[in-house]
């Protein structure tokens, strides 16, 4: 597999949100605005790349029976590091994302890539895979966030172009499912061509 396709598959063929349909919990919950989606995506990208790198390095020496606990410990470590760093340097983002930062530990995308890719491939490929999938996740979340913010609040990245409120349902849970569903249809229709 070429280096480029390792990255690009995260956008299209193995897009974590629209094709693999993984990590739905943060996808539905944090995409109330474009900026929240972007921040959540970047936080996951950070953990994904680092955990992929470390797991690809230690996978050959980890006995099979304990590989899941070891991977989870590695992932949890990076998530906690991320939590400390965000709390210290981007307290606003930390407050908005709140609970969903620690929940990255159990995000299926991260453990999924560790199991399916990083444990079987080299460091360099695993890092690229993490970047690809992470960016795909970030873009998907940002796209959903943009749509929900336009419809729900009449703004894009906090820039308001519509006076008053949007359709409030789109900011809340039902809107998350609706937007995700329709965007999935659109994505898969376009991707087939």
């Amino acid at each position: 597999m070429s280096k480029w396709s390792l990255i690009s598959k995260g956008f299209f063929k193995e897009n974590p949100t629209f094709v693999l349909v993984l990590g739905m919990c943060p996808t539905l919950a944090t995409t109330t605005s474009a900026i929240n989606g972007l921040e959540m995506g970047l936080a996951t990208l950070f953990v994904l790349v680092l955990s992929n790198i470390v797991i690809s390095l230690i996978a050959p020496v980890v006995p099979d029976k304990v590989h899941i606990p070891v991977y989870i410990v590695v992932i949890a470590t990076f998530v906690t590091v991320l939590q400390f760093v965000m709390q210290a340097y981007t307290p606003d983002a930390y407050q908005t994302l709140g609970l969903f930062i620690p929940l990255i530990v159990v995000n299926c995308i991260v453990l999924g890539r560790a199991e399916a890719f990083a444990s079987k491939n080299g460091v360099w490929d695993s890092a690229l895979d993490g970047i690809g999938i992470g960016l795909g996740f970030t873009l998907s979340l940002t796209a959903i966030g943009i749509v929900r913010e336009i419809l729900g609040s009449g703004s894009v990245f906090g820039w308001k172009f519509l006076a008053g409120d949007g359709i409030l349902a789109f900011v809340m849970a039902p809107g998350a499912f609706l937007v995700l569903g329709y965007m999935m249809v659109l994505f898969n229709k376009l991707a087939k061509k």
Partner: protein
């Protein structure tokens, strides 16, 4: 097998301890800054903050900061809290000694619904009602017979916000009525209600 897991856990704990040590100070600094900015935002200019103290209102102890120029008190910043739609809602309220509200702001973390209750952070129409609010006005939302218009579709959040503000005003009335030394509770001795 067990050895491998132990080693990984040990190593990860060491890494975390290191990162914690590195970030503990910036985290404390960021929290202090956020608190300070919230206090500054609700007070007029030209005074200096005194150390926090506590005052009891309706059985709950509120933290307040006296804001003074020389000996005379310009205002108080009171941290009041109530229960909103998504959890506790903490509001920093600046109140003049006569009970007039100067300004209010929400303290993070806040867990109101984005797009609805979360608008209590920046909804001008709602927040501007509190600026210069007379001590004689009824601190309730209009549905409950008060003088404050609630945020559209967020009555519970608005109610909580107004309740926090009214607690703060009550606290300042108490402080202004008695000599500060009597009403104030030494925070070091009493447990502060968050």
């Amino acid at each position: 097998m067990a050895l491998c897991l132990t080693l990984v856990c040990l190593f990860c704990s060491a890494v975390l301890a290191g990162v914690y040590a590195l970030t503990a100070e910036p985290i404390a600094e960021a929290e202090r800054l956020a608190q300070e900015n919230a206090i500054k935002a609700v007070l007029p200019e030209g005074g200096s903050l005194c150390d926090p103290a506590g005052v009891e209102v309706d059985g709950a102890i509120l933290t307040y900061y006296r804001y003074a120029a020389g000996d005379s008190t310009i205002a108080y910043a009171v941290k009041a809290s109530s229960i909103g739609f998504g959890g506790p809602l903490n509001v920093m309220v600046g109140v003049l000694p006569d009970g007039t509200v100067y300004n209010t702001t929400v303290l993070m973390p806040m867990s109101e619904t984005p797009g609805l209750g979360a608008k209590c952070q920046n909804d001008e129409a709602f927040l501007s009602q509190f600026r210069g609010l007379s001590p004689l006005s009824v601190l309730k939302v209009r549905n409950d017979g008060g003088d404050i218009d609630a945020i559209t579709a967020s009555t519970i959040t608005s109610r909580a916000y107004v309740k926090a503000v009214s607690q703060a005003v009550a606290a300042v009335k108490l402080l202004a009525a008695e000599p500060a030394a009597d009403a104030a509770i030494d925070l070091n001795n009493e447990e502060v209600q968050q």
